[in-house]
C-alpha cells in the first residue's frame, strides 16, 4: 500500500478552515509531495460545518482516501463529529480551553493545546488555527523554515508586524508539540519535484486560455463559479473578454454570438443553468456555430444540494435541446484532465461546427490536486476547422457562397462576419444550402432531409476523431470496474486495494460519453469475468446509457447519491459483497458526517 498522510480540518464556515488548509497544501507541494484536497461544505457564509480533507504523499494521490492521520477540530462540533474516525497512530490537535475531547480510539493521541498560554488570543482571533498548523508540522517532522516562508507570503500584504506575530504564534505551537506530543511514526519525505496545486475550475479556465478562448461569459452558479473567477481575474493579461450576464439564457446566446463572429467562446454553469441553456445548444447546432459549455454537476434535482457532488446530469446532456443534432460530450477524469480536455473538445467543436459539452462535477471543480506544471501545456494543437477569414477573390462575387453547402463530411466552410464576398444569413429555422429559410413558404421535404443528413454526417467524423476507451490493469482480472469521469482516481485506488487483498481488478474509465465507441467497449468487456458499474447517482445513468447504446448489462452496480464522493473502501467492500453473491446493487453509506 502506498504511503499517504491525511489531515482533516473541521469548523464552522467563517472560522478560517481554508487558511490552514492552504498553508499545508503549499508546504506539501513545495516538498515535492502530491496532494489531493476536498472540502465538504454547505451553502452558508457563516456557521454550519465545513470539513476539509488534505491527503498527501510521495506518489500520486488521486482521492481523499479512507483514513485520517491528523484531525484539527476548530470547534466542539467538529470534535464531536469526527474524533471517532481516528484509528491507532492518528492524532487530534485541539484547543483544550474551548473544546472537550471525546473518547478516542486506542492508540490515537489527543494533543491538547493550551491556546491562551501560547498566544495572545485577545489580539489574534485565529491563533488556535496557527498554533495547530505549527504543532502538526512539528509532529510530521517538517522543519519550521517551510512554515515561516509560507506565513511570510501569506501575510506580507498586511505588513511586517502581522507577519512576525503569526510566525511567533506558529513557532510557539511548533515548539510546544516538539516538547509534548509524540511525532507521527512516518515523517513526511521530500522529493525534488515541484507541483502546481489547482482546482478543476481553475484547470478548466486555464485550459480555455490555452485553447485560445477569447470570449467567456457566465452567470454565477455553484460549483462552476470558480471558472468565472479565474477568467475575470486573468482576463486582461490573457486577452479574454469576460462578461457576467443576466441569466444563463443570455450566457449561451452571447457565447454563440461571439463564436459566430469568429472567436473561441466558452461558458460554464451547473445543472440548473444548463437547463436554461438547452434551447441555445440547439441554436449552436442548427447554425453550426461551435461553442463549448461546461456543466459542473451538483446534487439535484432543482436547486438540490448546491455544495455537494453528483454525476446526475448525464441524461440532461444527452437530451439537451429538442431534435437530433451532432454534439460531443466529454467528462474529465481528474483535475489535470480538466485542463487538457478543453483544447481537445474545442478542436472537435470547431472542426465539426457543433456544440461541445464538458461534463465535470463538484468533486473535480472544487477539489484540488497537485499537477506537474509540464501537464499544463499552453501551446496545445489548435484546429479551427474550415474557417474563411479572408475576402473572396474568385470570379463571381457575392451570392455564390453557400454557408451550408452539402458535403460528404457534412462540414461546410464557415465564413465569419466582416469578410467581403461571403454575406449570408445563419438561421435557427431549417434552411437551404445558401442559408435561405425552408421552414416557411418554401418548405420542401427533400431539402429538409438533405440538410438533416448533411448535419448528421458529421457524427461519423466526430467518432473517428475521438479515441476509444482502453482497459487499465490486468486483462484477466477477477472483477472489472466501469466508471466515467471524476471517479477515475478512487476506482483506481480501489483496484489496488483489491489486488493487495487477493482479488485482481481492472478498470474501464469512460472519458468521451458522446461519441461512446460502443463496439470498442463491448470488445473490451466480452472477456470480463465480473463487471460492476460505479457511479455517483441514484438511477445508474451511465449504466442505462451504456445499455441503450450497446445492450450491455453488467453483473452489478455501485451507486452513491448522498452528496459526497466515493472513498476507496466503499468500492472495495461493495465489490467483495457482490462477488460473494450477496447483492448486485450496493449503495455505500458515507461515514463522515458533513
Amino acid at each position: 500500500m502506498k504511503q499517504t498522510f491525511a489531515i482533516g480540518i473541521g469548523g464552522a464556515a467563517g472560522q478560517g478552515v481554508a487558511t490552514p488548509g492552504d498553508i499545508f497544501a503549499k508546504i506539501f507541494s513545495r516538498r515535492g509531495l502530491h496532494l489531493n484536497a476536498y472540502n465538504a461544505y454547505q451553502s452558508i457564509i457563516r456557521g454550519g460545518h465545513t470539513f476539509l480533507t488534505i491527503r498527501t504523499g510521495p506518489e500520486r494521490v488521486t482521492n481523499m482516501g479512507d483514513r485520517l492521520d491528523l484531525l484539527i477540530p476548530l470547534n466542539q462540533d467538529a470534535m464531536d463529529r469526527h474524533l471517532r474516525l481516528l484509528a491507532s497512530g492518528a492524532a487530534c490537535i485541539y484547543n483544550s480551553e474551548t473544546i472537550k475531547p471525546g473518547a478516542a480510539a486506542e492508540g490515537a493521541e489527543l494533543c491538547a493545546l493550551p491556546v491562551s498560554k501560547l498566544a495572545d488570543i485577545t489580539r489574534n482571533k485565529v491563533a488556535q488555527n496557527t498554533l495547530a498548523v505549527g504543532a502538526g508540522l512539528s509532529m510530521m517532522g517538517i522543519g519550521f523554515q517551510a512554515l515561516e516562508e509560507v506565513l511570510t507570503e501569506q501575510f506580507k500584504k498586511k505588513g511586517d508586524t502581522v507577519v512576525s506575530e503569526n510566525i511567533g504564534i506558529a513557532r510557539a505551537g511548533y515548539d510546544y508539540a516538539t516538547a509534548n506530543f509524540r511525532p507521527f511514526h512516518w515523517p513526511l519525505p521530500m522529493t525534488g519535484n515541484r507541483y502546481a496545486v489547482l482546482s478543476g475550475n481553475i484547470a478548466m479556465a486555464m485550459g480555455g486560455a490555452a485553447a485560445g478562448v477569447k470570449f467567456y461569459c457566465a452567470y454565477p452558479m455553484s460549483p462552476s463559479t470558480g471558472v468565472l473567477h479565474w477568467m475575470a481575474a486573468h482576463a486582461r493579461k490573457a486577452g479574454i473578454m469576460v462578461r457576467q450576464v443576466e441569466d444563463e439564457i443570455g450566457v449561451v446566446n452571447m457565447a454563440i454570438g461571439a463564436a459566430h463572429a469568429g472567436v473561441r467562446s466558452m461558458c460554464a454553469t451547473s445543472g440548473g443553468g444548463f437547463a436554461l441553456m438547452s434551447e441555445g445548444l440547439g441554436l449552436s447546432a442548427m447554425m453550426e456555430t461551435p461553442i463549448v459549455v461546461i456543466d459542473c454537476q451538483r446534487a439535484g434535482p432543482s436547486t438540490g444540494v448546491p455544495t455537494k457532488t453528483e454525476q446526475g446530469d448525464l441524461w440532461q446532456m444527452l437530451g439537451a435541446a429538442f431534435g437530433d443534432y451532432p454534439r460531443a460530450i466529454a467528462a474529465p477524469l481528474d483535475i489535470g484532465d480538466c485542463f487538457k480536455i478543453i483544447p481537445e473538445i474545442f478542436n472537435i467543436a470547431d472542426r465539426f461546427q457543433c456544440p461541445g459539452i464538458v461534463l465535470c462535477d463538484l468533486l473535480l471543480s472544487e477539489g484540488r490536486l497537485s499537477v506537474d506544471p509540464k501537464d499544463l501545456d499552453f501551446a496545445p494543437v489548435v484546429d479551427r476547422g474550415e474557417l474563411i477569414t479572408t475576402a473572396y477573390s474568385g470570379p463571381n462575387g457575392d451570392g455564390v457562397y453557400k454557408r451550408y453547402k452539402i458535403t460528404e463530411s457534412g462540414i461546410s466552410p464557415r465564413a465569419i462576419p466582416g469578410v467581403a464576398g461571403y454575406t449570408h444569413t445563419a438561421a435557427s429555422d431549417e434552411h437551404d444550402e445558401d442559408g435561405v429559410l425552408i421552414s416557411d413558404e418554401f418548405t420542401n421535404p427533400t431539402k429538409r432531409r438533405a440538410m438533416m443528413e448533411k448535419r448528421m454526417r458529421k457524427v461519423a467524423g466526430i467518432t473517428a476523431a475521438v479515441p476509444p476507451p482502453v482497459l487499465w490493469g490486468p486483462r484477466d482480472a477477477d472483477v472489472t470496474l466501469i466508471g466515467w469521469g471524476s471517479t477515475k482516481g478512487v476506482i483506481e485506488e480501489a483496484c489496488e486495494i483489491l489486488s493487495e487483498q487477493g482479488i485482481s481488478a481492472n478498470q474501464l474509465q469512460i472519458r468521451w460519453l458522446v461519441p461512446l465507441h460502443g463496439d470498442a467497449i463491448l470488445d473490451i468487456l466480452k472477456d470480463a469475468r465480473h463487471t460492476t458499474i460505479v457511479e455517483n447517482n441514484y438511477s445508474g445513468q451511465f449504466a442505462r446509457y451504456l445499455r441503450s447504446e450497446t445492450s450491455f448489462v453488467p453483473d452489478g452496480y455501485i451507486r452513491k447519491y448522498d452528496g459526497e464522493p466515493f472513498m476507496p473502501h466503499h468500492i472495495v467492500e461493495a465489490v467483495k459483497e457482490q462477488l460473494s453473491g450477496k447483492s448486485t446493487l450496493s449503495v455505500p453509506a458515507h461515514e463522515i458526517l458533513v
Partner: protein, 296 residues
C-alpha cells in the same frame, strides 16, 4: 458585384436572396426600405454589417437584406448581438424584431443590454400584436384590445417601450412610424451613428391581426418631435414626460440622446488592441508561466 467594381454601396447590393413574405401592406416593408436607404446613405459596406433577429414576422428581416445575418431564437437577438459586437467591434450591428420578441420573451436582455450601453441599433417593429402565431395579445397591446388569447379584452396594462428604455439607461431613444419613410431613415442613420445603445421603436402596423392600431389610427396622431422647437433631446426628464403622451398626440422622433457614456466595448481595455476576432489565439509564454507560478 457593383460593390466590388465601384466600392460604392448601392440599394441593389442590399437586396436579400428572397423577397419578403410579409402580408401585403405590412408595416415591416417600410422599415426594410428605410434600413436599406440608411445603409446606402451612410455607405457602410454590407460585409461589415450584421443584422440579427429573434423570431416572429419582423424577425424574418435578416433574410431579406444582403448583409451578414443571424436569425436566432425567440427573444435572444440582443444577447447574441452583444456577443458579436464584443468579439468584433468593427462590425455595425443591427438588431431587428418585434414587440413580443423584444419586450415579452426577451424583456430581460432588453433591459440589461441598455444599461450596458452595447453599441448597436435595436429596431423594434412594434405592431402591438403577435402576428406569426396568428393574433394574440402582445406586451404593447392596448388595454381592452380583443385578441384570440384575450377574447374578452386585454386586462393587462401595456409596457411603455420609450419610458422603459429611458429608465434602463439607453443612450439613444427614438420612435418612428413605418409610413414616414424619410423621417424613419433619418432616425436609423442617427441610431447607427450613435456610439452606444440606440433604441428605435417603430410603429409598424399589422394589417391582418391588429384592427385597432392601423395606419389610419396613427396618421392623425403622430407628431414629430423635430417639429417642436422646444424639444431638447439632451433633457432626460423632458424625454420621460414626452414618452407618456398617448392617444390624441403621440410623439415620434428622437426623444433622447447622450454621448458621454462609454460603450461596453469601449469600457473594456481587453479590446484596446483591436477586435478579438483578429487576435492571436496564443498567449505570450511569460504570461502563461506566471499563471502557473501563482499555483506553486
Amino acid at each position: 458585384m457593383a460593390l466590388a467594381a465601384t466600392n460604392q454601396v448601392a440599394t441593389a447590393d442590399l437586396k436579400g436572396k428572397v423577397d419578403p413574405d410579409w402580408c401585403p401592406g405590412c408595416g415591416d416593408f417600410g422599415v426594410l426600405a428605410a434600413v436599406q436607404k440608411a445603409l446606402v446613405e451612410l455607405q457602410i459596406p454590407n460585409h461589415n454589417v450584421v443584422t440579427i433577429s429573434g423570431i416572429g414576422c419582423s424577425s424574418n428581416f435578416p433574410g431579406f437584406i444582403n448583409t451578414y445575418g443571424m436569425h436566432t431564437l425567440h427573444g435572444r437577438a440582443l444577447a447574441v448581438a452583444t456577443g458579436v459586437k464584443l468579439a468584433n467591434h468593427d462590425l455595425t450591428v443591427l438588431v431587428t424584431g418585434g414587440d413580443g420578441d423584444g419586450f415579452g420573451i426577451g424583456g430581460n436582455h432588453f433591459v440589461h443590454s441598455m444599461r450596458r450601453n452595447v453599441d448597436l441599433l435595436y429596431i423594434v417593429m412594434d405592431n402591438q400584436i403577435y402576428g406569426l402565431t396568428t393574433g394574440q395579445t402582445s406586451p404593447t397591446s392596448r388595454l381592452g384590445m380583443k385578441t384570440k388569447s384575450m377574447p374578452f379584452g386585454n386586462i393587462e396594462a401595456p409596457v411603455n417601450p420609450i419610458s422603459l428604455a429611458l429608465a434602463a439607461g439607453a443612450t439613444f431613444v427614438a420612435r418612428g412610424f413605418s409610413a414616414e419613410q424619410k423621417h424613419l431613415t433619418e432616425l436609423i442613420k442617427q441610431g447607427i451613428r450613435h456610439q452606444g445603445f440606440s433604441f428605435l421603436d417603430v410603429f409598424s402596423p399589422c394589417v391582418t391581426y391588429n384592427h385597432d392600431n392601423t395606419y389610419q389610427w396613427f396618421r392623425p396622431r403622430v407628431k414629430k418631435l423635430e417639429d417642436d422647437p422646444g424639444h431638447d433631446p439632451a433633457d432626460w426628464m423632458a424625454a420621460m414626460g414626452k414618452s407618456l403622451l398617448w392617444d390624441d398626440e403621440i410623439p415620434i422622433g428622437k426623444f433622447f440622446e447622450r454621448t458621454d457614456v462609454p460603450t461596453l466595448h469601449g469600457a473594456e481595455p481587453v479590446l484596446n488592441a483591436g477586435p478579438l476576432a483578429h487576435a492571436d489565439t496564443r498567449i505570450p509564454v511569460d504570461v502563461t508561466r506566471a499563471f502557473v507560478e501563482e499555483l506553486m
